[in-house]
């Protein structure tokens, strides 16, 4: 009977395609929007990935990594004196203006790192060496900067090219791969001292202190010790965890709580769900109604309600699987294109396909429920009523 059920489904190609489209659309919208949201949330923590260090010490009131409240340079010494600290290095982080060759301005994320240890330096160099930062006016840029800082995107910048940060000359000595920043601007690395030189003068300039714990000490314990000893805020940088001390988690939750981003994406995901429910339920119900006389005939011929329900579930399951598969493939293709193009943000953790699958199963269950209800209540004698 299952083959008959499938042939009944495929035979009405218009409704079959409509059903698959409904599930596919819902899958694509929910997967793609959730993944873009996750990608965007990852971008909020790009500085943590691009200037990696196990512990970040920041001013007490800092709640997320893109918020900069400067500390005194003497705070570095206080942190170094804490128990369990292997090393502690300064980091300057700030958004600065770059003047392009044609006179226009664009913003960049400037990172100033310690010129001795290069703690916080990029990890994936494409060209050049990190040590070249010690040369005069030297900067390392990410590959996005090559296009963004060129007045002509068809002629990207290259090694040795020169531009101005706040009217001070900068020369490219290295090119690296980096995660995109939340603000969309490219990343530029230079030494801490030179970064301060590029930035407008302020009384305090130290954005963060990058710390590594001693061997055998956990970052959590050392961070707690630093907080207790200095009164500064010490976050760990261990990736997304459900720990309040992790800077990635704190940053993402800050954006979730304090911006409209989750509402915006959440609304689209809900729209995807509603559209999926509306199209799938309505079309499948119409499909059942169209075939009601056949189900009635089958029932008269001795097909039990259980058998008819299994036929309907087979039909819905096939539609669900095909629609989900195509929708997920489309979302993945979108993701691959986004990653290749470096925007829009896209990150699909394992949980998203499984969660969307759960939602699709729910939609299919709802769609089949209406049909099953109709067929179960169908009077077999209906076939004799013309």
């Amino acid at each position: 009977m299952f083959r008959i059920a499938l042939k009944m489904l495929f035979g009405d190609s218009a409704k079959y395609l409509m059903l698959v489209f409904g599930v596919m659309f819902a899958t694509f919208l929910m997967t793609q929007q959730s993944s873009v949201f996750c990608g965007l949330m990852r971008w909020t923590t790009a500085i943590l990935k691009n200037a990696p260090a196990p512990i970040w010490v920041v001013e007490t009131e800092v709640r997320q990594v893109n918020q900069t409240i400067a500390m005194r340079d003497t705070d570095i010494g206080r942190v170094r004196s804490c128990e369990g600290v292997e090393w502690a290095m300064p980091l300057y982080s700030g958004v600065q203006n770059v003047r392009l060759e044609d006179g226009s301005l664009t913003v960049v994320q400037l990172l100033g790192i310690d010129s001795t240890t290069f703690a916080g330096a990029p990890t994936r160099m494409i060209e050049g060496r990190i040590e070249d930062l010690r040369q005069p006016n030297a900067v390392i840029v990410d590959d996005l900067a090559l296009k963004r800082l060129s007045p002509n995107p068809k002629q990207p910048l290259k090694m040795g090219d020169v531009f101005e940060i706040n009217d001070i000359e900068a020369r490219i000595v290295g090119i690296c791969k980096a995660m995109r920043s939340f603000t969309g601007g490219p990343f530029i690395w230079t030494t801490y001292e030179r970064a301060i030189g590029y930035s407008p003068p302020q009384r305090k300039m130290l954005s963060a202190i990058l710390v590594s714990p001693s061997q055998g000490r956990s970052a959590e314990d050392v961070a707690a010790g630093i907080e207790a000893a200095t009164g500064l805020k010490a976050y760990t940088n261990s990736g997304f965890r459900t720990s309040e001390r992790d800077f990635n988690t704190a940053t993402m939750f800050w954006y979730v709580k304090n911006t409209g981003i989750p509402i915006s994406f959440g609304t689209t995901v809900i729209v995807g769900f509603i559209v999926g429910v509306a199209i799938s339920c309505q079309t499948f119900y119409l499909f059942v109604l169209d075939n009601l006389k056949h189900y009635g005939a089958l029932k008269a011929m001795g097909a039990s309600n259980v058998k008819l329900c299994m036929m309907l579930l087979t039909q819905v399951s096939v539609v669900g699987m095909v629609g989900y598969g195509i929708g997920l493939a489309l979302a993945s293709m979108f993701g691959l294109a986004a990653i290749k193009n470096t925007q829009p943000p896209f990150f699909m953790p394992d949980v998203i396909p499984f969660a969307v699958l759960g939602v699709i199963i729910f939609i299919c269950s709802l769609a089949s429920f209406l049909g099953i209800l109709r067929v179960s209540l169908l009077d077999a004698a209906v076939v004799f009523r013309g």
Partner: protein
């Protein structure tokens, strides 16, 4: 001469639809016997209760009152699930509008009663082909129903009704959707296939031209059987 065994026996069957003031009594204490190896035709004007009666005889509708024994089974005392199984095994159906599934082939349509009984499609198809051969449509087995004429579709429906060797065949206006010539052909074929001993067919019809293919004719009016006679004794002129 002794009568053949009874295939279906209805005693004081009543059926009504609706409630309160809207209640309509459709059958008023029907008594009816249908014998094995006969074709019994139910005749009567629209609304007289013919369809309700065959629905009850087929086990697709429950009577309000009365006793109903079909092929030795007391349907009026059986549970719905048992009646469903009984129908699957013992009853073949031929509907007015054929009710063939349009998206599957003729042989698959014919195989449906066997599939309902749990037989696999690969095992059911040879039986379906044999049944199609009996109705002379073996060469059309791969076609879909809408590729056949009305008469051919009804022959496929007959093949479907007989594929699982049921002992009771319920036919609802089998020639209503056919022209006169095709109607006669279908009934001739049906009559020939019904020659197998032990089978009983109950046919509801408006079509006086096919009455001659019956063994007995029961006339209904206003929810009652008003006459039940052998076809040879039926007054065709009176009912014309």
């Amino acid at each position: 001469m002794s009568l053949p065994p009874i295939a279906a026996q209805a005693r004081q069957i009543t059926k009504s639809f609706g409630n309160g003031n809207a209640k309509v009594q459709v059958l008023h204490g029907i008594d009816l016997d249908a014998y094995e190896s006969e074709i019994l035709m139910l005749l009567g004007p629209s609304g007289c209760g013919k369809t309700t009666l065959i629905s009850i005889l087929a086990g697709t509708l429950t009577p309000d009152d009365g006793e109903l024994e079909v092929l030795g089974e007391p349907l009026h005392r059986m549970k719905s699930s048992a009646i469903t199984r009984f129908r699957a095994k013992n009853v073949g159906f031929i509907f007015q509008q054929f009710n063939l599934i349009p998206t599957i082939s003729c042989e698959e349509n014919v195989a449906v009663p066997l599939l309902i009984q749990g037989m696999s499609l690969s095992k059911a198809l040879p039986h379906a082909r044999k049944s199609l051969e009996e109705v002379g449509l073996i060469e059309h087995r791969k076609k879909r129903p809408n590729q056949l004429s009305g008469g051919q579709q009804q022959r496929v429906a007959i093949a479907r009704a007989l594929v699982h060797q049921p002992r009771l065949i319920i036919c609802d206006e089998p020639t209503a959707a056919l022209d006169a010539e095709n109607g006669q052909r279908v009934m001739e074929l049906f009559r020939n296939l019904m020659r197998q001993p032990g089978r009983c067919a109950i046919v509801v019809t408006h079509d006086h031209r096919i009455l001659r293919y019956s063994d007995r004719i029961a006339t209904m009016n206003d929810g009652r059987i008003v006459e039940s006679v052998a076809t040879a004794d039926f007054d065709f002129d009176h009912h014309r």
